[in-house]
Symmetry: C2
């Protein structure tokens, strides 16, 4: 029966935010949907990016037929170079998505050896037993796709990320009709985006920001500086249009803003009227009331263009009293303080800050709220439902939203976490065995720079209470201690101010050695352990802190 | 003329969130308003709480006449024990505020030696040249006070934290009349809360959560678990009332919840109907549909009652399928991920999570939004205005809100940051010289446990890339190196997996020593510096990481 079995294998993004990756397997054929990264929690000290653990795919590398990308956000494509450096498979996605992937691959000097296949909505691709149709959905990035995957057991719908924008700025409507047709004919399994399941009602259309931009453009007397995500082509198009209408020129600042707008422009996705653009080096010489600057760095990333502008450290833009700085992006959880600090610097330069919640909004989400999620569920009317993309509690809520579909053929809903599989055969769906998953922590963005868990654990320990290393020199011939122990400490107490404490620690070491039996002294491992235990107890009692204590015995 | 000079000296909370503290000085007399703490940013590694630097007050200890507390939140009273351990002054505040202070003082074994003076709205206290009237305001804590401080140069109004709740749950209305009367007679300076200045409109009344609680109580089939701030007496009273009306008993869980509700009850601020309370140990034996549990730990603090309940590690409450868990509190920036993780654990136990934004709301803010801030400005109509309590960009926005008052006598607005003073004399107001301020980082909550900046800097460095310590033994008679260098490293690379790298690092050390001149070798400081520089360069090139490198030379 194994050949008549469909397996759903989430490798990332279920029960955690970011690094979305999911495999579908039927017999000896696997397709992978998305390979995203996530930005690390504050606890992952010194780690720059986190990718899924692709062990399952590496173990089955000969079975993987392709990687399908729903859209170009980092949490869907950011791990593509890392996955492709392990397994060599063709990649399918929309033109814009693949252009962003290509840029990433170039950074890793991998662009040559990768097979990228551009697809359009309505197109179908066959990979082994899977026939995949690409369906246009609206989202905060252009050319986002949902997937209808025909398998021998029925159709699987994967929404990717979406909202149902009734008035998208590019008039490319959400393809309700194709989803409705699949729903009418019968869908085996729906996998749907849970990101905004806690929001009641509808997410406003991308156009909802226009009245706010109009208000700002109407009243601003000097420069307008807008920071938004560089992949928000719809947002940037609206800024270009209103700038054009109000007689302002537009300059782009920041590496990712420049490269994304260039890609979108070259693909015809961003329409830039003639003579609208201003070169960055001309910003300060143009009349201030005739300038808009669109800058990357919405999250207060320390080296981003917006952060540098805020502290007056950008060669092309100097904020002045009367400028208006607009934060037109969501705050990714964990970045509140960095963004607040950036806005404080902006305000200190005398510029006005427009940020946060307001009506009309200065930013709208790209993810569906409750009413849209229900609309999608009702259109697709699946037999089984698995919420994806969300924290566990969000996926639980999404599962509850689908309950009324029991009257329309919904047989069961499964809240799966990354690694937990679902098996579907002719008898129906059930939970399967888990596969190995996890997160891979990467330093400084290079594929070689994986950081082991143990190293991160040590960093965490060091970050809380520092370390203290007693160094004891022992004569290897006589076994006698040579001179007083040396103590090296950092991140624990100030050595100058607590010289008394360190002297006492030295005494503890000496006493531990002196009180040891000659048997113990013949085994440096035992002595080390005794010193560590005695010192830890002493230091904790004196300071309530628990530095990493690492006795070193040097035979000389 | 120095005796006819009023100085406004912010010591904390202006341009930063939390640790509010402000001094008013006239000649040789100082009053201090609030002494709050803040919870550290993630960057302040291993630090538990942060207080203002009270150096200015310590240098002028003989001039400080009293400490006045506006209300009992941690960002207004959390540093009281730390301030009082340095300067001995009487403390004035409402009954509830002082009860919370007393609890803090007991933890530090200081309750005996402190002079606490309970005050009521409408009462006046004279401290040197200052006559202070206490004015009732509405806020998310009971017995919050604004201050009208009569000085020889005019009246200063300090709002404390407030919103203008038109329908407070205890029917204690915001005292508009007294503020109006001061405004009519003329106010020299207004200091007003800027926390919610970015929110348009009005903050909903505390009563706005009632429809949501009713909805939850009406549909919940089993236990209802609500986590809220333990000092939110109004919120807790509403929970008690609706529990009583719907035939559920109420249990409190968590140390701070138990102690706060006990204080509020003993002061008559929390009205608990007979037989309503359930002991924690009886929660699991009572019928689930007859139980509400109110739990502290809204921010996902690791050891809090709510966190322990979420991971099924609390002896008195075990979550079960069908329970409803309600998060009725704001998310303090920086805690999003911890709270998300807590809610994931709750959802994994099969309980429903009610959290986030919804309408009707499950939480309302205690701070005034824009329309309320304007109402307050219009009531008080000050000659000078200084926004307080907020990030710099929020205070800038608040300053802009007051601009229309220029037609009503507002002469100037000053956006001050902590440490920047304002001077007012008979000629008017102007900026003065700055005073020394800063933050004091405290480990594990003890007054003795100040963490120096350098130690925190080291922890940050260690947290990112760990350390590497080469240890070289040198014969003090011959100056020769004894044996190969020892290398100790943690948080950098895994010593097992990168044995090659560490061996190469050892070679770098040996080569550096061998290539040194005999002059250099006679100065261990020089050798240490050379080894550090060579190793750092080598390690950075090999790994792109920058561990703390600390060569140790042991003379044996």
């Amino acid at each position: 029966m194994a050949e008549k079995l469909l397996q759903v294998i989430p490798l990332g993004g279920l029960g955690e935010f970011g690094m979305n990756c999911l495999a579908l397997r039927y017999g000896d054929d696997i397709v992978v949907i998305d390979a995203g990264m996530m930005f690390p929690d504050a606890e992952l000290l010194g780690v720059d990016i986190v990718t899924p653990d692709f062990t399952y795919l590496e173990q089955n590398r000969d079975k993987v037929r392709g990687l399908i990308l729903t859209h170009g956000h980092e949490d869907h494509i950011g791990a593509v170079p890392f996955l492709l450096s392990e397994i060599d498979v063709p990649v399918y996605g929309s033109e814009f998505t693949l252009a962003l992937v290509e840029r990433r691959l170039e950074e890793h000097e991998m662009a040559e050896q990768v097979r990228l296949h551009r697809v359009k909505p309505g197109e179908k691709v066959t990979l082994g037993p899977f026939e995949i149709e690409f369906i246009h959905v609206t989202h905060s990035i252009v050319q986002a796709l949902a997937l209808a995957i025909r398998t021998p057991l029925g159709v699987v719908i994967h929404t990717g990320d979406f909202k149902i924008d009734p008035t998208p700025t590019d008039n490319e409507l959400f393809d309700l009709h194709t989803l409705a047709e699949y729903g009418r004919r019968g869908v085996l399994l729906l996998l749907s985006d849970s990101t905004n399941v806690d929001r009641p009602g509808y997410t406003p259309s991308e156009r909802a920001v226009l009245p706010r931009f109009e208000e700002i453009f109407n009243r601003a007397q000097r420069r307008i500086v807008i920071t938004c995500f560089s992949s928000s082509v719809h947002r940037i198009q609206q800024i270009l249009d209103i700038a054009h209408a109000s007689g302002r020129k537009v300059a782009f600042l920041g590496r990712s803003m420049l490269s994304c707008t260039e890609i979108a422009h070259s693909l015809g996705l961003l329409k830039i009227p003639d003579n609208l653009l201003l070169r960055p080096q001309d910003i300060m010489s143009a009349p201030p009331h005739r300038v808009v600057v669109v800058v990357s760095g919405t999250q207060g990333e320390p080296m981003s263009a917006m952060s540098r502008v805020a502290v007056d450290n950008h060669k092309h833009l100097r904020l002045e009293r009367g400028d208006v700085v607009v934060h037109s992006a969501r705050i990714i959880p964990g970045n509140e303080k960095a963004i607040g600090r950036m806005m404080n610097h902006v305000a200190r330069r005398g510029a006005e800050v427009v940020a946060g919640q307001m009506n009309p909004p200065v930013h709208v989400s790209g993810h569906a709220s409750q009413e849209e999620l229900k609309l999608l569920l009702n259109l697709v009317r699946p037999r089984y439902f698995v919420p994806i993309h969300g924290e566990y509690w969000q996926m639980s809520k999404h599962a509850a939203l689908a309950a009324h579909l029991a009257d329309y053929g919904l047989e069961d809903t499964f809240v799966l976490e990354t690694g937990q599989t679902l098996l579907i055969d002719e008898d129906g769906a059930r939970r399967g065995e888990s596969v190995p998953v996890g997160r891979v922590c990467i330093d400084s963005g290079s594929i070689d720079e994986v950081v082991e868990d143990m190293v991160i654990r040590d960093r965490r320990h060091l970050s809380e209470d520092g370390f203290l290393i007693p160094i004891i020199a022992i004569d290897k011939h006589t076994g006698r201690v040579e001179g007083p122990p040396e103590i090296v400490t950092r991140g624990f107490v100030s050595p100058e101010e607590r010289a008394d404490l360190l002297a006492a620690a030295r005494d503890v070491v000496i006493r531990t050695i002196e009180s040891s039996t000659s048997e113990e002294r013949s085994d440096w491992g035992v002595i080390q352990e005794k010193i560590r235990a005695d010192l830890k107890r002493f230091l904790n009692k004196q300071t309530q802190r628990r530095p990493l204590v690492l006795p070193v015995i040097l035979e000389v």
